[in-house]
Amino acid sequence: MLPEAACWRRPSRSDAAACAEKDRFDGTCCIIEPVTETEPPRIVVSGLTKQFGDVKAVSDLSFTVEPGSVTGFLGPNGAGKTTTLRMILGLARADSGDATIAGRHYIDLADPTRMVGAVLEANSFHPGRTARNHVRIYCTAAGIPTSRADEVLALVGLTEAARKRTGGFSLGMRQRLALATALIGNPKVLILDEPANGLDPEGIAWLRTLVRHLAETQGCTVLVSSHVLSEVEQTVDRVVILARGRLIRQGTLEELASGSVGSVVARSPDPDALRAAVGSIGGDVTATAEPDGALRITGATPEQVGRAAWSKNVELHHLVGEQASLEELFLSLTAHATLHAPPSPSPPAPS
């Protein structure tokens, strides 16, 4: 069950009163009028900086998230992802720099609930309030009919739990409820902070379908944060990689993959001879022994290794090129940033 493009509810009684005040009623359908923003719903972050005490949580961060695509916002825990999202959403103040959605700061959006839906950590519920009442409150605040609550709860598969207090909800149910709350205004921009946390594999697959659908058929701008690339690899078109509050890399998954370094695994009954042969290739070639006796060679192509073995008369039983997985690449990129982080001022060495 996925939302239709513009028609987000069909009132049972054919009257316009069942539509939200900002909707147009065409006889069968409440149609969301395009939001008054003229700019496309692009997220632009430029030079964003935020410091907590002595710690720079985010430093001079700039990136863009385009409409009609899903962008993965990646980085290890503590990289500053959540802080950045909170600054985009106007919940936290930036020390310097700017974040805009459709060319406006969040606080200046004409109708934030219909423009942006956000899920920040799925624990924003009063435990004594039912899921349905929770969603209805935010419908009321945004001027959307409270009947919309039942629709979004059905969309995320919480119809049966709708009248239960959220205190007894599992993490997966909380994620779904937070997502339902974010979707009440059929927003153009969706910002999800670690949405896969607590979801079962079925829930993750469902979320992936929903997010792809919103981006592809409705042209939504979707920004999904995660600390595990493999979690979002199949969902995202582009990635923005962050470590220690700094931008490491941004671009499409293909662009990311093309920068990765491959290696060659070769096996010979005479490993020492093979190692010597590989050494003759020249250049920056390294060979390390794998636990099973094979050699892992970096800095050379399989063709180069094969030719070197053949010319030195080394018997080969196995020769294969391996591309580093995106996850390995992601880990090496963010680890690199950790190693090369600006050194903290150290006390002068004793003379």
């Binding site: 934030p112 624990n123 001027g143």
Partner: protein, 258 residues
């Protein structure tokens, strides 16, 4: 603004807090009023007779005894949002945080008003049949009982607003509730006691929130301190309410949302 007021109203009625605290209020007021009427005329009671204006005013003023619950409801109404992070969806829906705080101030005051009305209704329900059983007439206008009831409404309403302001400032629910109770039941009585030693302290004491609230109803002056006249006490109390609300408003707008 209407949308926000309705959303805040929905927040109040969709959890059990409001009626739990209302039950507490009514229990406290009911017991206090019944005890005051019941013990009147007993051999050891020093209270003036039930027929006197001062005693009738005192009994009806006792309806304000639930003001502490209104204060706590006001505190919880906002701190529960910080505690469970519902401030996030709230401020995402309305990024102009001042408007949200303003709606909360109005709704919190309305809840206090309802508590005040309920307390007065209970007091009337207890006092009227009991007085007539004792054959004592209640002189509503002659004894200014209407004024006392209005004063009770004002005190309970303003206390709920003060509570909201404290809640926005302190954010931590436990600290805000405990701090307020310690202030009202330990700190102010201490100042009241010490002001018998130093008279200048008494001049300050009159203007503290608890003392101002007592001045509005002109009852419960067990500490023997001087009090402001009722309307001045009302203005001072309102001033405290507005001060806390304003400080809370400024804080909410400028601090990061947790």
């Amino acid at each position: 603004m209407i949308k926000l007021l309705r959303a805040e109203y929905q927040k109040v009625v969709t959890t059990r807090l409001w009626w739990g605290m209302l039950l507490g209020t009514l229990f406290l007021v009911g017991v206090a009023v019944a005890a005051q009427i019941g013990t009147n005329g007993l051999a050891r009671s020093a209270a003036p007779p039930l027929s006197t204006g001062i005693e009738q005013r005192s009994i009806f003023g006792t309806s304000a005894g639930g003001d502490i619950f209104a204060l706590v409801v006001g505190i919880i109404f906002i701190t529960v949002e910080f505690r469970h992070f519902t401030t996030r969806p709230t401020f995402l829906g309305e990024p102009h945080r001042g408007r949200v705080i303003f709606a909360k101030i109005i709704v919190s005051g309305a809840v206090g008003f309802v508590y005040g009305l309920a307390s007065i209704a209970l007091t009337i329900a207890i006092a009227v049949p009991w007085f007539s059983a004792k054959g004592v007439t209640i002189d509503w206008s002659g004894n200014d009982l209407y004024v006392v009831m209005l004063a009770v409404l004002a005190v309970v309403t303003i206390y709920a607003i003060v509570g909201l302001g404290i809640g926005v400032l302190v954010r931590n629910q436990i600290a805000a509730v405990i701090g307020s109770l310690v202030y009202l039941f330990v700190f102010e009585p201490l100042v009241a006691g010490l002001s018998h030693l130093w008279s200048w302290l008494g001049d300050i004491y009159e203007f503290l929130p608890g003392a101002a609230a007592q001045a509005v109803t002109q009852i419960d002056n067990t500490r023997g301190n001087t009090m402001l006249v009722p309307w001045a006490g009302g203005l001072v109390l309102l001033g405290w309410g507005l001060l806390f609300a304003l400080l809370g408003w400024l804080e909410a707008v400028h601090r990061d949302v947790p």
